[in-house]
Amino acid sequence: MSDQQTRQERIDRGIKVRSDGLYALMSWRELSYLTAPRFILIAGMLLLPFLMPGMYWQRVISIVCIYAVLALSFDFLAHYVGLVSLGGAFFIGTGGYSAGILNSYFAIPPFLTVPLAAIIGGVFCTLVLFPCLPLKGVYFAIVTLMYPLFMARIIEAFDIFGGTDGLIGIDSFASSFAEQYFVIIMVLVFLFGLRRFVTTDRGLIFTAIMDNDQAVKASGINITRYKALAVFIASAMGCMAGACLTHIYMWSGISQFALDFSILPIAATVIGGSGTLVGPVIGCLILVPVSELLRDFGTLRIVFYASILVGFILFRSGGIMEYGQRKYEQFERWTQI
């Protein structure tokens, strides 16, 4: 490379080009090329509870899945609808408290409270966020960042729902396997459901709203309604995760509105690859166990993941998924100019 200039070029692999069209799937090789990554993810997720040693790490899996759902909802809102919501904790807290209230005041069993909490919480979050829907960019981000803090202070100040102690004595899932498979299947369903959803006509409108909302408005589409729908989908997902969290810890309290639930999913999304929907799940699979390993170091783990976050934003803003996809679908070579 001393006296002649070279550059790197990337070319799609032949198999990628051939298997792009559905009708080109002529061989098992092409078929497996397409399905292998998805199959590995699904099989890996389903096998996780067997691979983990001990109760503690099995519990970590459930937490990973809860964060993964939250990260998915963030990724969907931010990169497919254009609403950057920093209020993951708001969804978690609302869902957690709805499940807690339903279970401890009305004695509804967990398998009913989780979907109920998702719907009730989703409706509540959508109603509360409805006036903020016209906001964009920094403004929406700030207002969603403030909601969880606001809710926590309200509960603290009025001393409702158990006040600072929270609601205790909530039923857990039937068994630890039921708990883990419930959350794992929840992640997979949401992941593939959202991937399909964003390519439908509705998903197309969402993307259009993100790109140019005035144009969508000019085509006679009510953008507020669509934004509300998107917020409902995202918040219902978050609330469902929150409800699971409540049942896993058998407790719901103010700390469910803590900033952790807003920041860690975002970090996972950035690290995994924003706008890919698979990225956030992978990011959570990496980040949450690492942060559990560092639990002994106390607050150093927050320093640790914040540093990783800054590093990724600056130097690898595409995230792991983009890199992996590139390696999988393309080959690189040096060519002379």
Partner: protein, 288 residues
Amino acid sequence: MEILVYGTINSVSLALMGLGFAMVYGISRVPNFAHGALYIICGFVTWTLFQKIGLPYFFAIIFSLGINGILGMLMYRFVLIRVRGMNISEIISSYAIGLIILEGLRFGGFRGMTYTLPVFMEGSLMIGGVPVDYHRLIMTIIGICLVAGLWLFTHYTKIGLALQGMAQDERAALMLGIDSDFMAMLAMGFGAILAGVASILILPLGNIVVEAGYNVLIMSIAVCIVGGLGSWMGAFFAAFIIGYAQILTVVFIGSHFQMVVALLAIILTLILKPSGLFGQQKELEERV
């Protein structure tokens, strides 16, 4: 009378917290979510220089302000400059830097109630039958002088005018030979120094605790949102509105609700008038 006096003091301290945030956002359009961290770190640096190394208090303050300014500039030069203009990344990366600083300090052993800065002057004074200690009085006076000084600086000096030009129209400023990245870096440095000034004036009234960093961030965002993001005068007036509202709630309802007022102010302002009370040009851009 008590409400009036303490309301004013509270408002000025809020204005001090908010000014730095408003300045950085007004000029470089970067929402500096590390503002609370810069506030706290200045307190700790001053404490270290004064208590551990034993510099005179005055020099400790000057040094720590300088360090804070450099820190802010470095933060802009090496991190924020790369993500400028991308809203999500700006917020996330500056907030992450804030987290690194605050949680790093907490890990480094700065917790508990043992870290205090000395007040400037002992003793107190009666104003209209309300005892006010000298430090709060000095804080109020310096705060008001600072706002006036800032106004003069931005209206009558070359750098100040350049900063203002950039705040109004960055491209036009670029055409007139104003280096926008350098100016944004300067603005970040000034913002950090203002955060430091606020911390040195406010921290002697209590202990230096890491948690305060988060509260300062929320309060400064509240002040800036209500006043209109990017408008300094707006931030100053909004500080008075929120400051009095807080004191009134503490007196008539209860101290639990002090934070609720600030958060409610943010949410209501964003819903009703996102450009804030004094913001002018942003309304069309940000609202559909």
